[in-house]
C-alpha cells in the first residue's frame, strides 16, 4: 500500500514526460512531412508558368519583295531567305514611331530569336502563305514572357525593373490590341535545349534519359538476376562467395560519384568509349544499380518456400531445372519490383553522369545510344546553373516532369508487389 502511494506521487511527472516524448515524436514526423510539402509546393508553383507560352500576334508581310520567294521556291531557297528581316519589318510597321537605332534594337527584342525559325517552319509546311500578308503567333522573348506572367512586377520603379518603360509601353499597347496570347507551351515538351529560355525544351533530355535507362535495364537486369540466382541457389560456402557478398553490400553504399570516376577512368580513358553517350552512362548506372537489384532479387528468391524446391527435386528435376522452372517464375515479381526501384534510382542519378561528360550543352535530340546526349536530372542541373531568370521556371518544370516519371515508376512497383504478392 505504501508503495502504491509513493508511485502515485511520481505519476503526474512521469505522464508529463510521456506526453512530451510523444509530442516530440509527432513533431519530428510533421517536420519531415511539412518539408516535403514545402518542397513540392515550391517547385510546382515555380514550374507551372513554364507550361504557358507567351506569343505575340504580328501581321507579317511575306510578299516576294520582302523575301524574294514565290510559291514555286524550293525548300532550300526558303531556308536561305531572311525571315528575321520580315519579322523586324512587321514590328516596325506596328510601331512606326520608332526610328532611333537603339530603340529599334530594343523593339526587335520583343519577339524571341527563335521566331524566325518558327516562321520558316510554318512556311515550309504551307507554301501558300508566301506572297501574302498573314497574322502569325510568334514566341515572345523571355523578358516579355516574364512580364506577362507577372514574374517581373510592372509597378516597380523603372530603375529596379528589368523591362524598361519604353518596352513596357509597347507591350501594353500590344496587350490592349489583344495581340498578346498565352497558350500551352508544347515547345517545352517537343524541342531540345537552347540558350534562349523561351525556346528551351526537354525532349532531348527525355530521349537521353530513355536511351540511358533502356540500356541500363538491358544490362543490369539479366546480370543481377543471374547473380542473385547463383548466390542463393548454387553458391558453395567458400571464401570467394563471402568476398562477393561483402562486395555487394559495400558497393550498395559506395557514393555514386565514385562510379563516375570508374566510368571516366576505365570506360572512357581506357576502353576509349565515346564521351557523353547514353551507352556509357548506362554501363556506369548498371554497375551502380546492380547491388540494389541483386539484394532485392535475393530476398525475392529467399521468399520462395523450400517446399516448392523439394517438390520439383522430388519428381527428379535437376537443380537447374528446379530453379529455372519453379523458383525463378515464383520470384520474378519481387525481382521486377526491385528492378523498377533500381531504375528509378538510376533515372534520378546525376553525379556519375557528370563525370562521363553527359553534361555538355546539346541542342540536337539524340537518335541512338551513341549520340551525345544529356539526361533529365542533368538538364535540371544545367538550367539551374544558367544565369537567365527564364530558366528558373524551366528548371522547376523539368523537375516536375522528372518527379512524375519517378512517381509512375514507383506506383508501378507498388502495383506489381500488391498484384503478385503471395502468402506462402
Amino acid at each position: 500500500m505504501n508503495n502504491s502511494t509513493l508511485i502515485k506521487q511520481g505519476l503526474k511527472r512521469r505522464y508529463r514526460k510521456e506526453q512530451a516524448f510523444r509530442v516530440l515524436g509527432l513533431t519530428s514526423v510533421c517536420i519531415a512531412l511539412l518539408f516535403l510539402v514545402i518542397l513540392l509546393l515550391d517547385i510546382s508553383s515555380k514550374a507551372l508558368p513554364a507550361f504557358i507560352q507567351t506569343q505575340i500576334e504580328l501581321t507579317v508581310d511575306l510578299s516576294s519583295e520582302q523575301l524574294g520567294l514565290n510559291k514555286d521556291s524550293s525548300n532550300d531557297e526558303i531556308r536561305q531567305a531572311d525571315f528575321r528581316a520580315v519579322i523586324r519589318a512587321a514590328l516596325l510597321k506596328r510601331f512606326p514611331a520608332v526610328t532611333n537605332r537603339q530603340d529599334k534594337r530594343s523593339l526587335y527584342s520583343l519577339v524571341s530569336t527563335g521566331a524566325e525559325y518558327q516562321l520558316l517552319d510554318l512556311v515550309l509546311a504551307d507554301k501558300s502563305l508566301l506572297n501574302q500578308t498573314s497574322t502569325f503567333m510568334l514566341v515572345a522573348d523571355d523578358d516579355v514572357d516574364a512580364l506577362i506572367k507577372g514574374a517581373i512586377d510592372r509597378r516597380l520603379p523603372e530603375s529596379d525593373r528589368r523591362v524598361k518603360n519604353q518596352k513596357l509601353n509597347w507591350i501594353e499597347a500590344l496587350e490592349s490590341d489583344g495581340a498578346v496570347h498565352s497558350t500551352f507551351n508544347w515547345q517545352f515538351l517537343t524541342s531540345g535545349d537552347s540558350r534562349e529560355p523561351e525556346l528551351a525544351g526537354i525532349k532531348g533530355a527525355l530521349m537521353g534519359s530513355f536511351y540511358t535507362l533502356f540500356m541500363t535495364l538491358l544490362m543490369s537486369f539479366p546480370v543481377a538476376v543471374a547473380s542473385a540466382i547463383y548466390l542463393e541457389e548454387f553458391a558453395p560456402k567458400n571464401r570467394l562467395i563471402d568476398l562477393i557478398e561483402i562486395n555487394i553490400n559495400n558497393l550498395a553504399a559506395v557514393p555514386s560519384i565514385v562510379y563516375g570516376l570508374l566510368g571516366l577512368a576505365v570506360f572512357i580513358n581506357l576502353f576509349g568509349m565515346p564521351r557523353s553517350a547514353p551507352v556509357v552512362g548506362a554501363v556506369v548506372l548498371s554497375l551502380m544499380t546492380l547491388p540494389t537489384i541483386i539484394i532485392a532479387s535475393r530476398s525475392a528468391i529467399k521468399a520462395v518456400p523450400p517446399s516448392l524446391r523439394e517438390a520439383a527435386l522430388g519428381v527428379g528435376a535437376s537443380k537447374m531445372q528446379t530453379v529455372f522452372h519453379h523458383v525463378l517464375p515464383a520470384a520474378l515479381p519481387g525481382m521486377l519490383t526491385g528492378t523498377i526501384i533500381g531504375m528509378a534510382q538510376a533515372l534520378g542519378e546525376t553525379a556519375p553522369l557528370l563525370m562521363i561528360g553527359m553534361v555538355a550543352f546539346i541542342v540536337d535530340i539524340p537518335q541512338s545510344i551513341i549520340d551525345p546526349a544529356t539526361v533529365l536530372p542533368i538538364q535540371v542541373y544545367l538550367w539551374a546553373d544558367s544565369p537567365e531568370r527564364g530558366f528558373l521556371e524551366k528548371t522547376s518544370a523539368a523537375i516536375l516532369v522528372l518527379l512524375v516519371f519517378l512517381i509512375v515508376m514507383n506506383a508501378l512497383a507498388i502495383y506489381l508487389r500488391k498484384k503478385f504478392e503471395k502468402k506462402w
Partner: protein, 291 residues
C-alpha cells in the same frame, strides 16, 4: 485496420469452425463451471470475462477469484486461453489492438478496467513474470533497479543498493551473483535469468505476481529452484501461475483452475482437483488422455 479487415473473413471462418467443434465436444458436457470459483479471502475477483481476438472468441464467460497470499494455478491444454486470461489481469493485452476484453475485474475492490485506473500503476501492483526469461540488456544490478528507478521508490543510492540486494536474496539469486552485479543480465544461465526476472518483479513489491509458464524454458534443476521460490514468495504475495505441467500445479498451488477451449471448466482446491475431479473433461486432462 487494414490487416484486421483482411484477416477477418478467414478468422471468422476459423472461429466458426472451432466454435462448432466446441459445441460438438462440449454441448453435452459443459453447462457451467464446476467447483468453487469464489473464495473466502479474494485478492482478485473476475466475473463474466469475455475476450475477443478480432473475431475469435478466446475467453468465454469466465468467473474466477484468486485468493490473497495463495498460489492459484491455471492449467489446461495449449490454446485454451489461460495465458490470455492471465494477461488480462494486469492489462498487458492493452497494447494489442485487436484484443477486446469485457467483464468485471476487481483488485481489492477496485475495477482494473475502470477509466480512472492507470495501467502503469496497476502493473506496478500486479507484476508479471514471462514464459521466456527476458532480462534487459543491462547489468544484473540495473535489471533489478530498473523498476525502482522508474517508479522513484528509493531516495538514495544506499537505499537502492539495499533494495536490490534484498530482492536478489528473496529471489534466491544473491549468493550466486553477488560478486558480479555489474555483469550483463543476459550472461546468466536460463534458470538464473528467470530468477533475475522474478527479483526484478518483486523489487517494486507488487501485491500480485502473475507468472506465465515461468519454468517452461528451464531445465529440471532450475525448475525445481523456481518452484521452491514460488512457494516462499506466497507468504508475501498473491501468485497466479499458468502452467502446462500438472505436476508443477500440484506442487506449488493451493487452488487450481482448469481451462478448456476458452471456458473455465472446473476450479477448486488443488488436492481435490487432482485426486477427485468432478468434471469429465478435467479428469480426461489430468489422466493424460488429451492435452
Amino acid at each position: 485496420m487494414n490487416e484486421l479487415m483482411m484477416a477477418s473473413p478467414m478468422a471468422r471462418a476459423k472461429s466458426e469452425l472451432t466454435g462448432n467443434q466446441v459445441n460438438v465436444s462440449l454441448a453435452a458436457t459443459f453447462e457451467h463451471t464446476v467447483g468453487t470459483p469464489c473464495c473466502d479471502n479474494p485478492k482478485i475477483q473476475t466475473k463474466n470475462v469475455d475476450v475477443f481476438y478480432a473475431e475469435n472468441h478466446a475467453i468465454q464467460d469466465v468467473s474466477l477469484d484468486m485468493g490473497a497470499n495463495e498460489v492459484t494455478a491455471l492449467i489446461g491444454p495449449s490454446g485454451c486461453g489461460k495465458s490470455t486470461y492471465l494477461r488480462c489481469l494486469n492489462r498487458m493485452n492493452d497494447s494489442i489492438d485487436i484484443c477486446k476484453v469485457s467483464g468485471d475485474f476487481i483488485l481489492d475492490g477496485e475495477d482494473i478496467y475502470a477509466k480512472s485506473q492507470d495501467p502503469v500503476l496497476l502493473r506496478a501492483r500486479v507484476g508479471m513474470v514471462f514464459q521466456k526469461p527476458n532480462p534487459f540488456p543491462k547489468s544484473i544490478y540495473d535489471n533489478v533497479a530498473y523498476g525502482l528507478r522508474i517508479h522513484g521508490l528509493t531516495q538514495n543510492k544506499a537505499e537502492l543498493d539495499d533494495m536490490v540486494e534484498d530482492s536478489l536474496r528473496k529471489a534466491g539469486l544473491f549468493e550466486e551473483v553477488k560478486d558480479r552485479l555489474n555483469a550483463a543480465g543476459t550472461s546468466l544461465s536460463g534458470g538464473q535469468q528467470q530468477r533475475l526476472c522474478i527479483a526484478r518483479t518483486i523489487a517494486i513489491q507488487p501485491e500480485v505476481i502473475l507468472m506465465d509458464e515461468p519454468a517452461s524454458a528451464l531445465d529440471p534443476i532450475a525448475t525445481a529452484k523456481t518452484e521452491e521460490l514460488i512457494a516462499e514468495l506466497k507468504e508475501n504475495f498473491t501468485i497466479v501461475i499458468v502452467t502446462h505441467s500438472m505436476q508443477q500445479a500440484a506442487r506449488v498451488s493451493q487452488r487450481t483452475a482448469y481451462f478448456h477451449m476458452g471456458r473455465l471448466i472446473e476450479v477448486g482446491e488443488t488436492d481435490q482437483i487432482f485426486t477427485n475431479p468432478q468434471h469429465e473433461l478435467t479428469e480426461k486432462y489430468i489422466t493424460g488422455r488429451f492435452g
